[in-house]
Symmetry: C2
Subunit: 332 residues, 2 copies
Amino acid sequence: MKKFINHPDAVVRESLVGLAAAHPDLRVDLEQQIVVRADAPRAGKVGLISGGGSGHEPLHAGFVGLGMLDAACPGEVFTSPVPDQILAAAKAIDAGSGVVHIVKNYTGDVMNFQLAAELSADEGIEVHSVLVDDDVAVEDSTWTAGRRGTGATMLVEKIAGALAEEGGDAASVAALGTRVNEASASFAIALTPCTTPAAGRPGFELGEDEMEVGVGIHGEPGRRREKLLPARDIATMTLEAILAAKPVAAGEDAIVLMNGLGATPLIELYLLYGEFAGLLESAGVRIARNLVGNYVTSLDMAGMSLTVCRADPELLRLWDAPVRTPALRWGV
Amino acid sequence: MKKFINHPDAVVRESLVGLAAAHPDLRVDLEQQIVVRADAPRAGKVGLISGGGSGHEPLHAGFVGLGMLDAACPGEVFTSPVPDQILAAAKAIDAGSGVVHIVKNYTGDVMNFQLAAELSADEGIEVHSVLVDDDVAVEDSTWTAGRRGTGATMLVEKIAGALAEEGGDAASVAALGTRVNEASASFAIALTPCTTPAAGRPGFELGEDEMEVGVGIHGEPGRRREKLLPARDIATMTLEAILAAKPVAAGEDAIVLMNGLGATPLIELYLLYGEFAGLLESAGVRIARNLVGNYVTSLDMAGMSLTVCRADPELLRLWDAPVRTPALRWGV
């Protein structure tokens, strides 16, 4: 294993030390292992909290800031945050208007956020939840009952975050987040496995001419393993899987996230985006907004995921609203 | 070789197709292989042009837009753009105020930008040039006489671009770019080689416990190969090499670019940034601004570079000025 680390056990903590040094408009509590907007709590504003295992950066801590999350709870690598950590985040940001949990659908995350919601309620904090399960690759997986939560999480955080920023109440923000999730579908393909610092070796083996189709963001298996194909065929296969779930139909607008899984360079992501843009145009879908980059990752995995979200004028307006976070910024 | 491509010969062109589809505020001329701000030429504005081999994305095309470059000329992978291509960019953006070439110090780039400057002069376009040679690792290299140009290129593009945007004349913009280069020093370390699409196999071999110290952005050799060290020791070694070139002294401000070489994930870059921030503080240097991410890359190479640039109030003001490009955006 070759990584820029000191010790496998210290990776998450030491990375948070760097995050704190780089971004003075975030408050990083190393004790509680939470990342909070420096200006939280903000009177009259619903607080958005997300979290999950580390290893998916910039998700989630890189999306804390104006117009997106109020707090992130990074667990250890590929390990759910604990309930006390999520409770600490809620206490740090709640200004009396309640909080919304944005939870990727993994068994540990769901359980720990649920426990944290109960603990928060005991403290008088109203909690609503959005469950994200956009990955159409498999129905159940190593760590999930039902579909996995992947790329759409970022869209939920951006769009629900914008509504919270402009004063939406907790129930409305959560309902909107759920609507974004329901309008989204994602599918991922990996060219290489990833290596967790603790394990020190790849989570699975892939031959020099193989790819993993429908892979998850923890290196968990996908639908099947097959021979590597040209980008054009990979794009066709990916989009067929996504459109089969009908997130969007001909004549509709979409927000598209062309996402890298960590080690895939931009030159390849743009090449893929060109393929997807052509295919979506042929399918009669208009890409109203797009993002191309490494946003929801799986450590050092080479691979990509596509997320397609049906858009309407409200979603586009909230997408365009100002955002100022380490990894996503515009309008301010 | 596992990449998301269709054919090695088509990678650059097809990636530009995707760039064009993703960014309607850029004009991508596939015939001339240039990327231009859609609103160019702009009356009264000096035009900034950069370019070089592809494989360093988002450099340069990802930095075309308001407040940064007016045009980028992507060559084939790790291959200089040709003079006609650079001339075409100049003609597309010149509004009579002249253009400034920002050139990384590689023999082919220097020669072709020089030829393009002569061709442009023949067409009545005034050309000034900034040569970037910030990499303190080696004096000469495979493709360079003198130091190589790497991470500081992005700082030159941002800061000179801001001055051009607010109406600086060509000579002033070029002089500022040169000043930024002279105030900067960079040093890189690779954990893996990179693979060009054409070659199909890594440019060099590194053992499972080795790193290349002082590596260039084309996989060209560095100072030496040695056993992999903890991040803390890598940071110390890197900063010693940089500070030996005296870009900044105790009591001064700096802009720091913590850059990934393509396949190194953010969790590691932030961990490294934390190490560098601590070391710079101990050296009495104040980090006034920072960027952490994959900005000046070398295809799928795992590795990192640090760039340190001495900052003064003028440089910081121009750094903070609005920028709106695919890969860097704030204030707008």
